[in-house]
């Protein structure tokens, strides 16, 4: 009996000792967890209203004034848009006449309807939309058509004024064949024509020989292109965190001054910038714009401003990142 009690108490004691010795967690204090941090979002806009540091203020204001001047020179007022609907109507009427001659196009009535409807929509559209339309149109054009058109224009230019009228009609009809099914494009094109009207009236009235040559040979020579490329290669820090297997192409359209400094940059696939799940694209586009800003004035050829005043840079990181 005693033996049993001793054995039992001994065993219990043993268990207790064992437990306290080898289960240190029982006595251990839990680890302090770091307290919570509350996060507050501060709204940001393109134009910050944060107060200037006293010294910096004057300088920044100077720079701003300069920039304002630049902007007012180059960006046309948007009021122009209001005139759009009338114009399209007129054009479409003209087109009807042409189409009767051309025969290949569907009945004019239908076209009229088609064109009218989107017009109404097109007026209140924000800038972005028109941008997109422009882009679409650009991608559609293929080089062979381009050449044809260029040849045609040459012919037209060689002929005298009365004949020019005929040529115009031809042009219109051909234009219609391509674009009639996407009436929104017309709106966009007209918008563009308005924008550039000032320049066209000045320059394309008289076609000098040198300009004629430029039209035949458009594009940079290899060495000119290489110079520009080499310059931008050195300025572009490719973001290293980009995903592979993704479309890492950013197309940026530039407007340049004769000295190679940049007046305007425009990301062509702007819609992708704020797409969810493609945040890397915004990063990439921003890096490309930084590269241009860092590099300017760009190393452009000294001659032939007309050729390269509008320039498109295709930043492609696939080669560097994908491997």
């Amino acid at each position: 009996m005693y033996k049993n009690i001793i054995a039992s108490s001994g065993l219990h004691l043993g268990v207790i000792i064992l437990a306290t010795l080898s289960l240190p967690f029982i006595s251990k204090k839990p680890i302090e967890l770091p307290p919570l941090i509350s996060v507050e979002l501060i709204q940001i806009t393109d134009q910050t209203n944060i107060p200037y540091a006293p010294k910096a203020k004057k300088i920044i204001e100077k720079v701003k004034k300069k920039q304002e001047k630049l902007i007012s020179e180059q960006a046309p007022p948007k009021k122009v848009k209001k005139e759009k609907p009338k114009e399209i109507l007129k054009i479409s009427k003209k087109n009807e006449i042409v189409q009767d001659n051309a025969k290949a196009v569907p009945t004019p009535d239908k076209n009229k309807e088609k064109i009218k409807k989107p017009k109404e929509e097109a007026i209140p559209l924000p800038d972005k939309k028109t941008d997109e339309v422009k882009r679409k149109e650009e991608t559609k054009q293929n080089p062979s058509k381009e050449k044809k058109l260029q040849k045609k224009i040459k012919k037209i230019q060689e002929e005298q004024k009365p004949k020019l009228e005929d040529a115009k009609v031809k042009q219109v009809s051909e234009f219609e064949k391509k674009e009639i099914f996407d009436p929104q494009n017309i709106a966009a094109l007209i918008d563009k024509s308005k924008e550039e009207m000032g320049e066209t009236t000045k320059k394309s009235d008289k076609i000098t020989q040198s300009q004629d040559k430029n039209m035949e040979f458009s594009g940079l020579t290899l060495s000119e292109e290489d110079a520009l490329k080499a310059q931008i290669f050195s300025c572009w820090s490719i973001p290293l965190g980009l995903p592979y297997n993704e479309n890492l192409l950013v197309r940026i359209k530039l407007k340049l001054k004769p000295d190679g400094s940049v007046i305007k940059t425009e990301v062509l696939d702007h819609a992708r910038m704020n797409k969810p799940g493609e945040s890397f694209y915004k990063v990439l586009a921003e890096s490309a714009i930084r590269a241009i800003q860092l590099c300017q004035p760009l190393r452009v050829p000294t001659k032939g401003y007309e050729r390269w005043k509008d320039l498109q840079l295709n930043f492609d990181a696939r080669e560097m990142i994908g491997g």
């Binding site: 839990p30 680890i31 996060v39 498109q312």
Partner: protein, 451 residues
Amino acid sequence: MEVNEKNTLFYFCLFLIFQTKSFSLIEVDITRGNLDPLPVAVSPLFSDEQTHSDLKKKLNINDLGLEISKVVENNLRQSGLFNPLNKDAFLQKPDIAHLKPRFEDWALIKSQALITGKVILKDDKLRVEFRLWDVLAGKEMLALAFTTVPKNWRRIGHIISDKVYERLTGEKGYFDTRIIYVSEEGPKTQRIKKLAIMDQDGFNNKYLTLGNELVLTPRFSPTNQMVTYLSYFRNLPRVYLLDIETGIQEVVGDFPGMTFAPRFSPDGNKVIMSFAKDGNSDIYTMDLENRIVERITNHPSIDTSPSYSPDGKYITFNSDRSGYQQIYVMKSDGSKVKRISFGNGLYGTPVWSPRGDLIAFTKLHKGRFYIGVMRTDGKGERLLTENYYQEAPSWSPNGRVLIFYRETKTDSDGKGFSAKLWSIDLTGYNERLIDTETDASDPSWSSLLTN
């Protein structure tokens, strides 16, 4: 009216002529750039006199704004993607920079991004504001404010780093994270091993066990503050769970033998591990809620080191069923087993990337150890680093960096042995030693603590 119409037609034709000119818009393809880290300037955060002295009393830190900026700077440098510029070169002092910075001054020192900010102490709460600027565009890219207790200031530095990293690279950061590892002390034959936890940058080191028993392979839960690991408690190797918040630990499952190589499922609800009996080991899962144990593989070979894909639909593991240790992928129910590694040598410890696109592994070939990654179909194998002995890669939560441990050879006297934690990113270039008080092995990266 007619005149007007004619005019329009005329303009329209002019426009067409012009249009053909812009058809031939010159395009230049830029296919190369430099892969140098992005130069950033981290201006010390500004604090006024009052805050300055208050903080000094409270935390015994001379200039908290400067310290936070150093944390950010260090994080960005470690990532290998950024090049924080030397503060001596800054032309603007923080008291001016925290207002609207003069971008010309920052562009002059070749900085492309700028971080400024302000520290305020209000009602015993620390409020830190920061702004990220695009120096070249002269634009504000990001602005946030954080409020917390003053003691927590290092984490604010990490969160700022994460936000900046995310804004500038387009992928999530990994700085506000912790690493759990096995701390090792003593001679090689009598190592004392303890579980330890630290911030991702090596600070705030704490020990979770006392070192009475051998511990191995701790793994963080992807969803909460739980850790699963292997402990030789009473010389019986078994998988345990440890809640870091409460300190409570428990055995996972009631197996009649040795369980090892545990890992959480991506939702944190299951633990997957190996169970060995009679020289054969297979893969099992246990549901942490209802404690149901499920057998996944059933093969006379040794199947071990299981790891879930981030969507939980697949499992990668290693097995010697082909004669040599190789990596396999199967569905999460154990069906459709497919071998994916076919290179020379032995492959082990496969770990599925949190991004889902890659599997990291250890490879042994001709007596050398490699850490590498391959795509989930086994193609595109890339070996990132090679050494005498290294293993156990663990992914950073954004799937860009791997942490692993490396041991050095003992010399003829049995000395010179050490085990240290190293990290390397997917490019294979940015290899860095992570400083720990003691020797360290078997690291595991936590998920982001915020959000």
